[in-house]
């Protein structure tokens, strides 16, 4: 991240120089001859760099041309500005340009590159419960991959998740809410004629976590099926890498995923939450805290994770 921002500062401080070069020509004695004017070839190179960025699974370390273009981006502010402009024109947002993440771009809203829920899962467009579950699966994968705020902030952090782990994590959080509602004596069963008012956790808790199918595949409508779909999709986006088959599939995060969650998704979801009037206040410390009194570790059935928000 820091690389990128630092480059930008340079990039914005230089343009006068760059444009002067163009406008006044090489004869001008003030401008050093080392900054050449932008040519169509440069534009092609900038576009090529963006094209590399559109292949999220491609690693700069594996491709000499990609690495070379990245070097140019970092070293030539004019080229960097050009590449940024190409990306913006295509409807892309540049998250970071570095050797670890490559040209990390993501789709802006309404961009042709954006992923739409209806294309992602067919059932989700008609069934609001499914739509919610698919969205929650993505959020839960991120929360599980970066359990502490420090993990999300730390560039070197690599998160590890498993499909079943994500499922049981959300399930436990839901169970916790169920218990709390019971303690308060609330009746959480939704009114029959107003399904939209059903608490979100109930939707998840109600859905079965897995199911036997005739052909030994994961049941698509089950929660592990939904989480499995989310991680498979994120793997295709170059956000996760598969590391094994334990517990429904084990994955680790990439630098791109961290950037995407930190700079795009987290803040967008947060803004939406604030708009709903929910203001979660924390002091930056972990919210998965020990219970206030040890009695809370009482072995109530299924109370695996001692969550305390």
């Amino acid at each position: 991240m820091s690389d990128h921002r630092a480059q930008h500062v340079d990039a914005w401080s230089e343009p006068t120089a760059a444009y002067t070069t163009e406008g006044t020509g090489p004869a001008d004695p003030v401008v050093p001859a080392a900054t050449p004017p932008v040519t169509p070839a440069d534009a092609a190179d900038a576009a090529r760099l963006v094209a590399f960025g559109l292949q999220p699974k491609l690693l700069p370390a594996r491709d000499a041309e990609y690495a070379e273009l990245l070097r140019r981006y970092r070293e030539e502010p004019a080229f960097a500005r050009l590449a940024d402009a190409v990306a913006t024109g295509l409807g892309l947002v540049v998250l970071e340009v570095s050797t670890r993440a490559g040209m990390a771009v993501t789709a802006g809203e309404d961009s042709v590159f954006a992923v739409r829920m209806g294309d992602y899962a067919r059932r989700a467009s008609s069934d609001s419960a499914d739509r919610f579950l698919h969205g929650l699966a993505h959020l839960a994968v991120a929360a599980m991959a970066f359990p502490r705020p420090e993990d999300l902030a730390d560039d070197a952090y690599i998160g590890r998740i498993t499909v079943n782990g994500v499922d049981s994590f959300v399930r436990q959080a839901c169970h916790r809410l169920e218990e709390r509602a019971e303690e308060h004596g609330d009746n959480t069963d939704p009114a029959t004629d107003a399904p939209g008012l059903e608490a979100a956790w109930r939707i998840y808790a109600r859905r079965s976590s897995t199911g036997a199918t005739k052909d030994a595949r994961r049941l698509a409508g089950s929660t592990t099926g939904i989480v499995g779909k989310a991680v498979a999709f994120l793997t295709d986006s170059g956000f996760l890498q598969r590391t094994g088959d334990d517990a429904g599939g084990a994955f680790r995060t990439t630098a791109r995923y961290q950037l995407q969650v930190r700079d795009m998704a987290g803040s967008a979801a947060m803004a939406e939450l604030l708009e709903l009037g929910v203001v979660p206040v924390t002091d930056g410390t972990a919210t998965l805290l020990p219970p206030p009194d040890a009695d809370d570790l009482e072995l109530a059935a299924d109370a695996g994770l001692p969550f305390h928000a």
Binding site: Y120, S128, A143, R148, P195, S208, M270, P280, P290, L297
Partner: protein
Amino acid sequence: MTSPAYTDNAAPQLSAGPRPAPGPAADEGLSRRLRALACTAPLHDLDVRKANLAGEYTVYAMAEVALAAIDLVTLNMDFDTGADHDQIVTRLLPRVAAQAPRRPVAEHERVARWVLENLINVGSVDRGFRAVYGTFGPDGVYVRRDYDFKLIEEVPGYGGTVYLRATDEAVNVLVGALDTDVTSAQIAAEVKLEVLISRGRLADAQLAAEQARYRTVQYAETLRKTLEATRRNVRAVDWLNAVPDMIAEALDHVADRYRHENAILTNIRKARDEAEEPEHKRRAAELVDIVKDCIRRHTQLQSRLLEAGPLFRAEQDRQAFATPTARTGLDLYGQLVAPLLPLPVEQAIRVTDAFFAHGTGLRTPTSVRVGDLVDMLLTPPVEREHLGAEMPEPDLIATPDDSRFSEEQLASAMELLDLEHDAPRRLSGLLAEARRGGDPDLAYLVALLAVHAASPPVGTAYRQGEQRLLFSVDDGTQLDDPEFGGADLIVGTALLDAAGMAADRTEAT
């Protein structure tokens, strides 16, 4: 199948008959009972719907089979997994068969599967049941509510397999009033058991022992989940006091129960050996099995408890000793997931949608040119030429059969040595019988096999799940034989408890 049969019934029940004063407290109790009632509905429903099945199935008592199924699933819930689907069906078969002995086995299996699938409720996307009931809110308004529950749920097991688990609702339907303090309930059950045994009332003792086992299973299950939690996030759990205390408590519990159950075991063994009546003897033998199973579960629990410490230290190294970063990140769980889950789904969906839209990255849209498409479709499939050179026909040379003994000889020797497990024989007798056949080599083979059996490969047989094993023992008697010298071995067959060993094996891994 969210059976209309009982959802429709729920409402009229409410409107009919006198109702207690519609206060929230009275209603609370009523709705709890209504929900408890709803849990039994799927079982009754099975007996109602069996008439609709293609075929004559009224002879089967479906509710009974269903309860037995829930029983089996609960008993087979192990640490990491649940009960295996097919195993449950197999174990249900004897009961189903007993209900209609003249029917074909395939039909019995069909019935068992039908019951099990209906308990899971395979037909619905949630794989659960829903009952509708009504309550009066605090403001006196009558509200119809949906109650969703499951009886048997499918959970992911090791290697992508699916296992069955009985839900709390099912356990409550099954034994009732199980939501008491696990520890004290177990102590109570075991004290009761001891008293019953000392008074010789074995029938009651078995019931109590089985209940003790249910509690043991439940206890193990809750502990498993707690341990899982400690692996999640070091900071999430108080490793200074709470968890070590809990582990110490659990270890104490295991030690205590272990001692206790071993004492019971000794008592019942005595009861078993001293019992005169065969019925008592059988009961006591069953009890021994149950208590052994309890002990097995405790040992398993203990080994899990011992793993917790090293795991904590490894996680501590990873998480706590890293250099802190200057920036603060977003707390995804605390600031997003936790506040989101209690919201009504209408609102929560806006947040998840926003996260989805910005968190999934990009997809490059595929666009097809018609020209390319036509070309692609019209291109004939490529001949596969890169299959490599043709394999030469292998030249096989028949190896001469240089075995000392022929297959027939081995077969007749094995036949000779196929002894009843309770009737071992002397080697001299076996040799005499082998010679009677007129084949001098056969006696030699029998002698070899007998000597080989002096050190039987118990471990191998155990791993391969063999049912029986040949063994021979030297009791000091000399063999008086013209051809062979040495000890006149006692040759016999030992029966191996294949099922028990398989259980031990899963436990060990």
